[in-house]
Amino acid sequence: MIQTGITGIDEMLGSGIPRGTRVLFSMEPGVDGRLFMISTLNNALSRNHRCLVIIPTSTARVFRSEILTLKKVDIDDYKDKLVVLDSSVRDSLHKKCPVPAERVNEWKSLIRETCEKNLIDIIFVYFDLIYEDLGLEEGFRMLDITIGDRKPTVVLEHLNLEGDDLLTRFSADLAFDLIISLKSSFTPAPYFNFFTLEYTSWSNMPRRSIPYIIINNTISLYIPKIIVTGPPASGKTTFVNQASDRGISGDRKDLKGAATTVAMDLGWLHFKGFDITIYGTPGQPRFDPILPQLASHAMGVVMVIDVTRPEQMARVRTLMELAKVNLIPMVIAANKCDLPHDFSENEIRDSLHLKADVPIHFISALRRSDVRLVVESLVHCITTYPF
């Protein structure tokens, strides 16, 4: 097993990338997705796997300096576990065999020898130039080797200039097991990238896309919008405040002097490799017209209900409609369970007509750990939800 080392993605892939599989990171031009391959390589080295890197666009020295800047890892420290075939190898093979058909065989025997001699488990390939030199089938043929009775895991990074058709060829013709594509938003500002888990052969994980941002050379999955809604005074503002590392409150005092939300609460949190923006809605029905707007483009909903007030459930059902929770994942935060109450999970599920897979968590929004648990549960739903 190897992992990408990217929090969030490894969880989605289950226990990791099985041995002997074929992995593709496909990048659209201009998208900074190098860290997917580099992070996977780092992870493999740190778990004592023996790796071969084939990088025809660069010298081994440049590759070393690249990893050093991006990851503060010096590949020279892994000399006994890592072999690099760089641009000089490609140059000499080109001189030796000008005919592509012969060159494939030359490459193939070089790769086989290297793998045998160094007991290589995983081959990392920057495929772009190999594809240009030899084409898809031939280019891959040189990587498809068996040593003894096992095949090394193959991880490819490719600059995809042809779009989705090429991905289909990787999965259908070359039997790739995991395909992740990296693309960018079309607008230049704000600029964000997203990765799409296109296909895995070993799980029935649905295809999904999640934006990511790069902070200090680490990939953070980016959930731009989670909304927290619920009936008046159920604890939404408290929830957003507890969940957030920093935030802005939309509360104003009402006529009786109690605080109520009149705009929205806004919070940001960094949590288990995810960067999340969280929006709390006002609870008063007079703000209902703004709810669909607030809920648009949300990736998930936390419905905060007050377990001491079962009579509010009709209101909750209205909110569920306004927030279009049939289209996006939702979790229920059954709040104020520190207070005496008599409202069971089944009663909640029945009165809200909830599907069995909608999680209900009994919490007190006054406790940060409870709130984080709900966030974690929603993130899990978002990353496994069949959108």
Partner: protein
Amino acid sequence: MYTYKTGIALIDDVTGGLGPGMNILILAPPLSGADTLGACIARPGTGEYSIIISTEERSIDMANRFSAENLNRNHIGIIDAITKMSSPEASDSVHVKFVASPSDLTGIGIKFSQIVESIFNGEFEVSADVDLFPPPIRFYINSLSTLLMYRKLEVLYQFLHVLGAKLKKMEGFGVYILNNESFDEKTVAVMKQLMNVVIEVKVESDGHYLRIRGLSGVSGDWYKFRIENGEVVIGK
């Protein structure tokens, strides 16, 4: 709509400058000073920015030349595709980014996006008097000839096609240099497909000439020209 002045009176007087999303190809024989002409067209005007892919000149030499020519270096981002081949440890700054070699199209694309992002995020110097949005960006490849020595024509075409689409979305303006004597007609024709305007350069015994193709209303005749203090001067 924002328009980009080319600094060539023959074009600017008639068109008032070229609109966003336009691409200019400079077709020139070797040693004809095409890169000086290219630099004139691609340098940032007031409130503008330039992103330069340099495959022939190291960024440090280029930056020195810029200061000598009074170019606003703080408005220029350079993608240097050659320095790393001799100095592997060269490290990126906001204004200068390095890629492994001219064959590293993945790296070129990424560094391009990084510079665009910095410009949009205001990490480049912003002119106090002119703060335009989207920030006008001139994109300059010097030269396609080198890239074509490292990559196949079809691959480079597709790559430039995608990059050109991004440039268009951000309302930028592209300038490209191609040495027309080192490549066959097909190569030149394919590269021309990506362009809106072609400026051909030739050298005669009495000096340099240019001819503009692709702009209605702009004369397609040969004109003598010289560069004086970074300005294109059209002569008789």
